[in-house]
Symmetry: C2
Subunit: 289 residues, 2 copies
């Protein structure tokens, strides 16, 4: 890869993920310039002083002008609108621009944007491909970001039938350059998988925390602490994710409740063999990691 494969990357929403993305891009010299765009000047200042971006703007038109790559890192509910707003500002340029996102759900976002891209008024120079870097933690803000957040993590890209092969290759190379392993999935399969390995576990971590009598929290060990860690995540962000992937999360919840009913039955009947079998099977799946 040549030095500075990108002249200017714009990150809409340079928080924990967007900020880490900026740090990763700059530390790997993938772009000369990384512009952070957001509504809150304070968060933008934090991102700039954390070394996540080289400049900031609260004005979307200014922020995206002349960008080669634009990454939308806002909460999932606003991603489609953000992409459309970006497109309205760069439609008059002839420069090729790739837009991607970092949203934890994909099906609805990708299908809606695919419909928009199929319309003749969509500018020919602009392409959207969905991404989801599976990285992050329960914290918020670029001050908690890290240039190595994507190192060794999986980044899912979700091309559609409309995606051009060279655009797909470009976005894959982008995540690879940040240290991630790239997996290409349909947006629908991505959401089914995430319901099982991320969204349902989040909901269950929250329910585990909720059932805990507060006076016993101080007696918790690393077991409770790890099991409930993600329940400390931002409630508004996770509400959006869970609702955006509602059908799949409910299907995973059904599967979980079937498993739980087996554990309950073994415990109620006091069946050591059955209980140990269930624990052993769970350990086997955990150990495939």
């Amino acid at each position: 890869m040549p030095a500075f494969p990108y002249q200017k990357v714009t990150i809409i929403g340079p928080g924990l993920i967007g900020g880490s993305l900026g740090m990763a891009i700059l530390s790997r010299r993938l772009a000369k310039e990384v512009v952070g765009v957001g509504r809150n000047p304070k968060s933008l200042a934090v991102a700039e002083s954390a070394g996540a971006v080289t400049s900031t703007s609260t004005d979307l038109a200014t922020g995206v002008a002349e960008a080669d790559l634009i990454v939308i890192c806002t909460p999932v509910d606003s991603i489609v609108d953000q992409v459309l707003a970006v497109v309205s500002h760069i439609a008059n340029s002839s420069k090729p621009v790739l837009i991607t996102d970092a949203g934890s759900t994909k099906a609805e976002i990708v299908s809606r944007l695919d419909q928009h891209q199929a319309i003749s008024t969509w500018p020919a120079n602009v392409r959207f491909i969905g991404s989801h870097p599976i990285a992050g933690n329960e914290k918020r803000g670029a001050e908690h970001g890290s240039p190595d957040l994507f190192e060794g993590r999986v980044a899912v890209v979700t091309p559609t039938e409309a995606t051009a092969a060279n655009d797909l290759e470009q976005i894959k190379q982008f995540w690879l350059a940040l240290g991630a392993t790239v997996v290409s999935l349909s947006a629908v399969e991505h959401d089914i998988a995430m319901a099982s390995v991320s969204h349902l576990p989040h909901l269950l971590a929250s329910a585990i925390a909720s059932q805990t009598p507060e006076r016993y929290v101080s007696l918790s060990g690393t077991g409770w602490q790890d099991t409930t860690r993600i329940a400390a995540g931002d409630a508004a962000l996770w509400r959006q994710i869970l609702l955006a992937n509602r059908t799949n999360v409910l299907a995973s919840l059904d599967r979980f409740e079937q498993q739980l009913a087996e554990f309950r039955a073994a415990l109620e009947a006091g069946e050591p063999k059955r209980l140990e079998q269930l624990l052993t099977e769970a350990k086997r799946i955990r150990d495939t990691l």
Copy 2:
């Protein structure tokens, strides 16, 4: 505390917890001699080469002779029998001996041993007080031990009406010297608390792992990995713990399922406000940590 408050401490079962205990005792110079007793010569050799004990024995009588403090670190189902076996070997000595354990459940162990101690044939020089250092991880064996395993952790001690004040003080000082914070609870309350903050979370971590389609495990992030970490624990050990605390675990499971039903209802009805409230309340409890 004077140098070497103990001459000889014997650890029955020097695995992850017992081995860490030996390392902690030796590194803090709490005893001159730490003897590891077990049935498996290989595990004993591992404990010795890991620096967890100064000598080992597969013979219980030899291992406990002349010990000042004996800590039973075997699985919960065998603790009462181990204590009784130890007592039969030291009954003819007049030296005061304190026995404690490191079991994750307490009510049945403590009540059974209290009954034994009330009988006139129980030797006057021997006292048992239950302990539970809330520390450990999903690994096994002294080779994964650490002299700092108890540092900053809670150690619960579970005295009964029969416990002498100076014995209780001695066992508290022991755990304090290892860096733990000591909490004194009745064995019954200990088990109620542990059902919520340890045993039920273990069962749920296992059920989360079990519901995960294996092909999606490679797409998991730190959320799934932390939530299911304890499911990698030893199935036979956890089967014993869950069954020993069955009634309390089932009561905690009822409470969890009530919470989960609320999350499900909010998700099924697509109620953003209600879902965010539930997530916020869970976050509040997690954040009390």
